[in-house]
Symmetry: C2
Subunit: 452 residues, 2 copies
C-alpha cells in the first residue's frame, strides 16, 4: 500500500543535503564565460578578486566540480530555517477539481521572507573567512537586502545596501527591517558613486532599476578598502548555493516515490529557478528522466520570451563583466510591476544556456492574471505568496487545469519562493481594481537590445 | 553521552499531540464561573448558545475533562504549519555570555503571523459543524483577525471583523491581508451597532479599544440570523486549544532530557501564556515539578501587576457576561503601545485564578526596554519578533543575565508568539528614537476599576 502523503513533508535530519550541487558539471554545453569588457577575453579568476571574495570568484568560474561541501558554519545556520517544507497542495487541487498532484517547495519561512537567505549566509561566510572589512550589494524588492543584512548581522560584517529608489520610497518597512539588522541603506541612483551621479544627471527623476543599483554597489565595493560586492541572483555561485532547494525537494518527493512531470519556477535573475531545478535538470542531462521545466516571467520584463541571447552588461552603467544571457538590454527599465524581484533585464547565464539548448520552456504572464492565482492560492492553501512566487502559482494552476481537461494525473512541482507580507499595497491594488498591466511594445524592447 | 541539542527541534510525527489538555481539570481551585450580569448567577451552557456555538459553549464551561480529542479536520489543518519549531537560542546565549540555556517556542511561521491560528481553525471548525451562517469577531493588532479570516476561508464561512479603529488606520496592510482572505472588515467603534453608536456619541474622536470592538462584534452576532461570536483570547476554550503549544514544547524538550526552570510568556488576554504553560502548570499542580512561571505585560496596560482581581465585563459597552479576572476596568483604554495584542483591560480567568493562588509571577516592562531586547534578538537569532512577543524576550534576556551574575546554568523557555512584519512602524520609531513610554498613574487606573 502506498504511503499516505502528508500535506507538509519535512525532510528527516539524515537526508538533509550536506553538499551543494554544481549543475555546470553535468552540462554538455557549458554556460558562456564572463568576458572582460576591455579586452573581450574570458575573465580569469584573479580578475574577479577586486569584485568578489576569492572563494566565490572560484565558485563562479568552476564548471567542473560536481558537488561542493556546504561549510559547517553555513550548515549550522541552515538548521535554523531548513529543511524548508515541501507542501502537497491538496486544498488547491480540490478547489480546482484537477486530477493533478500539486507540490510546492516553500522557502518563505524565514525572516528574509524568501529563498535569498540560502545564498546570503554562504556569501557572508566566505567574506568573513577572507577577513573582509565589509560588503556592498543592491536590492530591488528588498528580500535579498533583508537576507544579506541578516547574514551580515550573524557574522558582524558591515553592509551597505543600494536599494532601487522606487522600492525605497514604496516600501519604507523593507528599509526598516534592513536597518533593524544593522545595515546602511542608500536609495539608488544616489550621489555616493560616479555611476549614480551619471544616471541622475541624465535622468534626474528616475526611480532607479536593479541594473543601476548594481552599478553603484559594484563601484562602492571596488573603491572601498577591504570591501567586496555580492549579488543575490544571476551568478553561477548563487545558483550553486540555491541548489539546496532542489536537492531537498527531490529527496522529500523520493520519500513518497514521487517524481515531478513538470517543474515550475518564477524567473527574475534565475536564483530560485536554477536552485529548484538543479537535480532534476541533472536527471535530464544524464538521461535519467525527462521532466518538463518551465520558467515563468512577468510580461512587463520578458527576458526569456522576448529578449535576445547575447553578451551584455549586468548593470546599467556598464561597470560589470559581460555575460552571455537572455537580455532585454542593460538600459531597459521595465514598467511598473509589483514583482520587484523579477524586474531584471538579464537572466542567469546557466539558465540562458539551457533554455537556448531547448532544455526548458518559458512563459510570461500579466500581473493581474498572476494576482488572481495569488488570491486563489491564499484562500485555499493559507499562505500569502509574494508577487514573484505568484507567477509560478499561475503557471502551476494553468497546468493543473489542463490536466482537468485531459484527465491526466500529472505531478506538478513549483517553487513558492516567498511571502507577500511586504507587498500588501499590491494586494490592495488588486482588491480595489486599480492594478494594471504594462507590456512593452516590440519597438520599446528593440531600442534597448545590446548591439553587435 | 548527552545528545547534541540542535538549534531547531522539530517534533517527529509520532509525538505530535492528538488531544488538547484542559488545565482546569487539574486545578484544585477552579476559575470563578462566568456570571449572568442580569441575575448575578453562574451562566448555564444553554445561556451561552446565542453567543457561542454549542461545542465551544460546552468547552467554555467544562472544568472536568482533562484531555479533549482534536478533531481530525483540525489536526489535518494543523499539519500545514505544526508542529511549530522549538529553537535553542545558542546565538543569543553566546551574545549575552550567559551560562543559561534559552529555548523559545516559535509560533510565527504561518500566514497569520502568530499562535492565533491554533484556536481560530478549531473555532471555525465547530461553527461549520453546527451549520452556522457566519461568524463575527474583533481584532486589535490584526493577528487574530488574520488567523480567523484564514480559518473561515478554509471552511468557506462568512466573517465580519471589527478592527480597533486605531489599528485600522495605522495598519492598512493588516486590513488588506484580512480582505485577501475574504472577510469583511469594519473599523470600531462604528455606526453598525448600538454599542458602537453609543461609544461614538460619547467619544466621537476615540480610536477605539479591544473592549469596544468586542461589544460591537457580540452585538452583531446576536442580532444576525445564524451568526455567532468568536474570541481569540481570554476564554477558557481558547486556552484549551492553545495547549497544543505547551504540549509540543514539553515533548520536544523531553527528547533531549530537558525541563525548564523558568517558563516565560507575554500576556494580553492570556491565550499564548495559558497554552504554553499548560502542561508545565499541570506538573506544578500535581507535584511533579515546580518551574517558575512568569507572565510579562506592558507597563502601559498592567492587568496582573497593577489591576484588581474582581468580576468585570469583558467589553466596554457591558454586553458580555461577567468574568472574574485581573482587570483594569472595562472602561480602561491604555495609552499608545505598539503591542496591540497586549492592550486588553482584563486577563484570562484561568490565569487570573492561578496568579491569585500564587502559582505564577508577573512583571511589566516599558516598550522602549522591550524593543531593545527585540533588536538584540533579531540580530542574533535572525527572527524579527512581534512587539507582543518581545515582552517575553525582554524577560528571558533579563533572566539569562541574572544567570550570568550568579553563574547558574538555568534552563529558560519562552514563547515567541509571532513575527513583527506588520509592526515595522514601531521598529522605525525605535530606530529613529521617537518611541515613548506611557505609564498610567495610580489615579488613572483607580478611576476605571470595577465597582463593588
Amino acid at each position: 500500500m502506498a504511503k499516505q502523503i502528508p500535506n507538509r513533508i519535512l525532510l528527516p535530519e539524515n537526508l538533509v543535503p550536506q553538499q551543494w550541487y554544481n549543475l555546470r558539471a553535468d552540462m554538455p554545453v557549458k554556460p558562456a564565460p564572463l568576458l572582460n569588457p576591455g579586452t573581450g577575453e574570458p575573465l580569469k579568476e584573479e580578475e574577479l578578486y577586486p569584485i568578489f571574495c576569492q572563494e566565490l570568484a572560484h565558485q563562479e568560474l568552476d564548471d567542473d566540480t560536481r558537488y561542493i561541501d556546504i561549510p559547517a558554519e553555513v550548515l549550522e545556520y541552515y538548521k535554523t530555517f531548513r529543511p524548508s517544507p515541501l507542501h502537497r497542495a491538496y486544498r488547491l487541487e480540490k478547489e480546482l477539481g484537477t486530477p493533478a498532484k500539486i507540490y510546492f517547495k516553500f522557502e518563505g519561512n524565514n525572516t528574509s521572507g524568501s529563498h535569498k537567505l540560502n545564498s546570503a549566509i554562504a556569501q557572508a561566510y566566505y567574506a568573513k573567512e577572507q577577513g573582509l572589512a565589509g560588503l556592498t550589494t543592491e536590492t530591488g524588492a528588498g528580500q535579498w537586502g533583508t537576507a544579506l543584512a541578516m547574514a551580515c548581522a550573524h557574522f558582524k560584517l558591515p553592509l551597505t545596501v543600494y536599494m532601487v529608489k522606487g522600492s525605497y520610497q514604496q516600501k519604507p518597512y523593507r528599509r526598516s527591517i534592513i536597518q533593524t539588522f544593522g545595515a546602511e541603506i542608500i536609495p539608488s541612483p544616489s550621489d555616493t558613486t560616479n555611476a549614480g551621479r551619471g544616471i541622475l544627471a541624465a535622468q534626474p527623476d528616475t526611480t532607479g532599476s536593479l541594473g543601476c543599483a548594481i552599478s553603484e554597489a559594484v563601484e562602492k565595493a571596488v573603491t572601498s578598502e577591504g570591501y567586496r560586492y555580492v549579488l543575490g541572483s544571476v551568478l553561477n555561485q548563487v545558483l550553486l548555493h540555491q541548489s539546496v532547494i532542489g536537492l531537498e525537494a527531490k529527496a522529500a518527493l523520493e520519500l513518497y516515490d514521487e517524481y515531478p512531470d513538470v517543474i515550475i519556477g518564477c524567473a527574475g535573475g534565475g536564483s530560485n529557478l536554477g536552485g529548484l531545478i538543479a537535480p532534476f535538470m541533472q536527471d535530464k542531462l544524464t538521461g535519467k528522466a525527462d521532466p518538463r521545466i518551465v520558467a515563468v516571467e512577468p510580461a512587463s520584463c520578458p527576458s526569456f520570451t522576448r529578449g535576445v541571447y547575447a553578451y551584455d552588461f549586468c548593470d546599467t552603467a556598464k561597470v560589470t563583466p559581460l555575460a552571455k544571457m537572455y537580455t532585454l538590454g542593460s538600459g531597459f527599465i521595465p514598467g511598473a510591476n509589483h514583482a520587484g524581484g523579477l524586474r531584471y533585464h538579464g537572466m542567469s547565464p546557466i539558465l540562458s544556456s539551457l533554455y537556448h539548448d531547448g532544455r526548458m520552456e518559458a512563459v510570461a504572464y500579466e500581473q493581474t492574471n498572476v494576482f488572481k492565482a495569488a488570491m486563489l492560492f491564499s484562500r485555499t492553501e493559507g499562505i500569502l505568496p509574494a508577487p514573484e512566487s505568484s507567477h509560478a502559482i499561475r503557471a502551476a494552476v494553468d497546468e493543473a487545469l489542463k490536466c482537468k481537461e485531459s484527465g491526466e494525473a500529472k505531478t506538478i512541482l513549483f517553487g513558492l519562493t516567498g511571502t507577500g507580507y511586504f507587498d500588501m499595497s499590491a494586494y490592495e491594488q488588486f482588491l480595489n481594481g486599480s492594478m494594471t498591466d504594462q507590456i512593452p511594445t516590440d519597438e520599446e524592447l528593440q531600442a534597448n537590445f545590446p548591439q553587435g
